[in-house]
């Protein structure tokens, strides 16, 4: 049995501790906003926050994050109030197919938490997620816009 804290809730899951966090979030906890894209931490579709830092969950054994504060895309908003990154994503109509966007948003939110006014170079260094639709132009604009908003 593994005890996890996800989006402020405690989950006791009966799972092999070597199971990647991604699959526990999706299949045991039932939150499907976090995506599988490659399974080798290349694409970033599985990005979640572990103690506020962006982590790729597809290769992260669940046994290593016991007791850590895990946040998924479903836990980013505060109640019905979207996180400023989500709000900027809506305003700039960033998503196309949208599949990579949970991970992209989580990476962007972690970047803004660490660097409230990121430069283009900061964005290039921190956002290494793959998007096959090619939404990068809107991603960059939305991150800069979110950086300008309060809270």
């Amino acid at each position: 049995m593994v005890r996890l804290t996800i989006n402020g809730k405690t989950h006791d899951v009966d799972v092999d501790p070597n199971t990647p966090l991604l699959w526990v979030i999706r299949e045991q906890v039932g939150l499907t906003g976090t995506k599988y894209g490659c399974g080798i931490a290349q694409c970033g579709a599985c990005t979640v926050h572990v103690n506020g830092a962006a982590m790729r969950s597809c290769m992260l054994p669940v046994g290593t994050v016991v007791g850590q504060k895990i946040t998924t895309i479903e836990g980013l908003a505060t109640g019905k109030t979207l996180h400023k990154v989500q709000k900027a994503w809506v305003d700039h109509e960033v998503p196309q197919c949208g599949y990579c966007q949970s991970g992209m948003i989580m990476a962007a939110a972690a970047l803004l938490a660490a660097k409230p006014k990121p430069t283009d170079a900061d964005i290039n260094a921190a956002i290494t997620n793959i998007c096959r639709c090619g939404t990068f132009q809107e991603v960059r604009a939305a991150i800069h816009a979110a950086a300008k908003t309060q809270a």
Partner: protein, 723 residues
């Protein structure tokens, strides 16, 4: 499966009738949506609270087609755009209703350009019926009523009602026999950058992709198909994994694959990794990249080839040239690699078979389901789910549906979700066709182009995917000549005397497919880089040289001039920055690009800026067109610089994003999109055409920067990096 798809299309086309206005066998009987709201026409359901549900057959995979199509319906319906939502009819329902929603296929950039008329008519007919219903209630002539934002007003009396209030009565009326569509000058919603209908759920994790589907009692399957195309499954040792936690069953799938079904997908995948499997790889295991390339090279000089475009006398033209230029180009196999790997969920009983699937073509999924289940159409249906990317992988090819049904048949009554690993997805694609080209151009003493021979050698998509078309064409694949064709939606963009463009078809065992843009990707590289080579051999400016060879092609010239002007062609570029151009016609749109790049250390390429012009005739949603253009350059330039699938021992070598990389945000150029939409009889496509001009524009700029001509894609094989 291909035969079934074909038969299905023929059969269903034969019963098509009354498509335009949504007449259907239900006649005057009111058809209701699931929530009980009445259907006015097949495209329009109106709820009592005035909410408008627009139903369409095409699929949303990120390209914005659903929003664009809804704009077309809403324009004629005169409804409040803020009350619009959408839903997909099922292919089974469509078939029962004589394909009232038309073609489900969402490929070839056809979503809007081939259905704009009938969806607008569907909206217009619904408006006429709603007005008539209000007029009947008020006992006034319908001609005295006007509509705006879902409100009907009787002008003389000022009485008002809403669509929601008269929807029940309207649904009982006969649809009008014919309706008049608005003049484009009157459009209020079409042509506006209205917000997409599907954004919010994509930022909060709520959007359900096929891969997220949950059904009661559902199990999960992981699959391995023989890594060599055409190979077979020989045996597997289920006993070695059947005791693992969660594992329910190990099943053969067709004659070439094996799947593990378990409680969770991770359990299924883990067990599959441990499953001993024996393959019969067959004769294709001897095929290598080298053997494929040798076949293509032979085709470059072969005496037999299918003609795609010719005029004048190529031999005479080249004979009178004082200077001949010759070059050979190459474009590789490419996997589509959408972010969401292939998946489908199936539930089978002898009485009913259902599939839930992210698909670019619900009817193709339905055909695959019917073939695999063996059940008649009235016992089956497909429920479409929005796609995590398509790019051509999820339309004509429904292998994952076939597999899901084959698995579900071995576990009757249990819904089974099949999800491919990324590795499975990479190794079992339907790849961009591999192609070489040898181009020979002749210049006279004044530098005029007096003859051009383009010899293509490589794979045909249609020979593998639509063999009946190739049969009709006596072995020729007309699609190979996209952007080079003598006429039509992919017509050649130059007026060259003494022209021959032909194709030595050299097929391989690697299955080819329609990859965003399809054959314009390589044809634009071949043709547009070679035009620069010719211009340079003639000692002429690349823009001027093109213009001289574009007589009678005003729209090609229009987009080319637009990008040249915006990029500042002919004026000095910033220090260390070099420019390149390209133009083409594809999917009935005219496209051009101008790129600005710099090169460090001879091999590190920074693409600073691409100006792209697209002339589709009509621009339904300019904001989404901009996103399609800039997004397509991520796809196209990833391929140009860093992607290639190669073959070793009959199988694909690159199995994930570490060996098949994709552009990151730091490598993204600034893209400026110019849209030209001056109307006319023809609507052009958006999702694909513009992708093709980015690569040659960048390659041409690279020559300007370095003096080195690049002719082989991907550029990584020449040590070149995108930075």
């Amino acid at each position: 499966m291909k035969m079934n798809r074909r038969n299905f299309i023929v059969t269903s086309a034969a019963v098509t009738g009354g498509l335009a206005l949504g007449f259907d066998p239900f006649g005057k009987q009111v058809v209701r949506a699931q929530d009980g709201s009445p259907e006015i026409t097949a495209w329009v359901v109106i709820q009592p609270n005035d909410r408008v549900v627009i139903r369409m057959a095409r699929s949303e995979m990120g390209q914005g087609t659903i929003t664009g199509l809804a704009q077309l319906v809403a324009e004629e319906l005169e409804c409040d755009w803020n009350k619009v939502t959408y839903e997909y009819p099922t292919p089974g329902t469509s078939l029962k209703r004589k394909r009232v929603w038309g073609d489900f296929s969402t490929g070839g950039s056809r979503g809007i350009r081939t259905s704009h008329e009938y969806v607008r008519q569907g909206g217009a007919a619904a408006r006429v019926m709603l007005v008539q219903a209000a007029a009947n209630q008020w006992k006034v002539p319908a001609s005295e009523c006007v509509t705006s934002n879902s409100v009907i007003t009787h002008k003389p009396s000022g009485r008002k009602t809403t669509y929601g209030k008269v929807a029940e009565a309207a649904a009982k009326l006969e649809p009008p026999k014919d309706v008049k569509l608005k003049d484009p000058k009157e459009w209020k919603v079409i042509g506006k950058p209205v917000k997409r209908l599907d954004t919010v759920d994509k930022v909060n994790g709520k959007q359900v992709y096929g891969f997220d589907l949950k059904l009661p009692g559902m199990l999960n399957a992981a699959i391995k198909d023989c890594p060599v195309f055409g190979g077979k499954l020989k045996s597997f040792d289920a006993g070695r994994v059947s005791g693992l936690k969660g594992v329910k069953k190990v099943v053969p799938v067709g004659d070439s694959a094996v799947a593990v079904v378990a409680e969770t997908w991770w359990q299924a995948k883990t067990a599959l990794d441990q499953l001993p499997i024996q393959w019969d790889e067959g004769p294709n295991a001897k095929v290598s990249q080298e053997s494929i390339l040798a076949t293509l090279k032979e085709g470059l000089g072969a005496s037999q080839a299918f003609v795609g475009n010719q005029n004048g006398d190529i031999k005479a033209g080249l004979a009178k040239a004082t200077k001949t230029v010759e070059a050979t180009y190459f474009y590789p196999f490419l996997n589509h690699a959408p972010m969401e790997p292939m998946n489908a969920t199936a539930r089978y009983t002898p009485e009913r078979c259902e599939v839930w699937v992210p698909t670019q073509d619900g009817e193709a999924s339905f055909a695959a389901l019917l073939a695999a289940s063996g059940l008649p159409a009235d016992k089956c249906d497909v429920y479409k789910i929005n796609l995590g990317g398509g790019f051509g992988r999820r339309g004509a090819f429904q292998d994952y549906v076939t597999q899901a049904v084959q698995i579900a048949k071995q576990m009757p009554g249990v819904p089974v979700k099949l999800l491919w690993t990324r590795e499975e997805d990479m190794l079992h694609g339907h790849y961009h066709p591999i192609m070489m080209a040898k181009l020979t151009g002749g210049l006279d003493a004044s530098g005029n182009l007096v003859g051009l021979h383009v010899r293509l050698s490589g794979q045909s998509i249609l020979a593998a995917v639509r063999p009946h078309i190739v049969e009709q064409q006596k072995g020729r694949d007309p699609l190979t000549f996209q952007g080079l064709a003598d006429t039509g939606e992919h017509a050649f963009g130059y007026s060259i005397p003494n022209l021959l463009i032909d194709h030595a078809m050299r097929n391989t065992h690697v299955p080819p497919g329609f990859w965003r843009g399809v054959n314009i990707n390589q044809n634009a590289v071949f043709m547009e880089c070679f035009m620069d080579e010719l211009a340079q051999a003639a000692g002429q400016d690349e823009l001027e040289f093109r213009r001289k060879n574009m007589q009678g092609l005003p729209r090609n010239l229009g987009v080319l001039n637009a990008v040249a002007q915006r990029i500042g062609w002919g004026k000095p570029a910033p220090q260390g920055v070099y420019r390149g151009l390209a133009q083409m016609k594809a999917f009935n749109s005219f496209v051009a690009a101008a790129a600005e790049i710099s090169v460090r250390d001879g091999n590190k390429v920074k693409v600073h800026r691409i100006v792209a012009a697209t002339d589709p005739g009509y621009a339904v949603n300019p904001a989404q067109i901009e996103r399609q253009v800039s997004g397509s350059f991520v796809y196209g330039l990833s391929a140009l610089f860093m992607q290639e699938n190669t073959v070793k021992d009959g199988r694909i070598v690159e199995d994930n994003f570490h060996t098949f990389p994709s552009m990151r945000i730091g490598q993204m150029p600034k893209v400026e999109t110019i849209i030209i939409a001056d109307g006319g009889p023809i609507w052009g496509g958006i999702g694909e055409p513009t992708i093709c001009v980015a690569a040659p524009a960048v390659m041409n700029a690279f020559f300007k920067a370095t003096g080195k001509r690049l002719r082989d894609v991907p550029l990584k094989n020449q040590g070149i990096e995108l930075v």
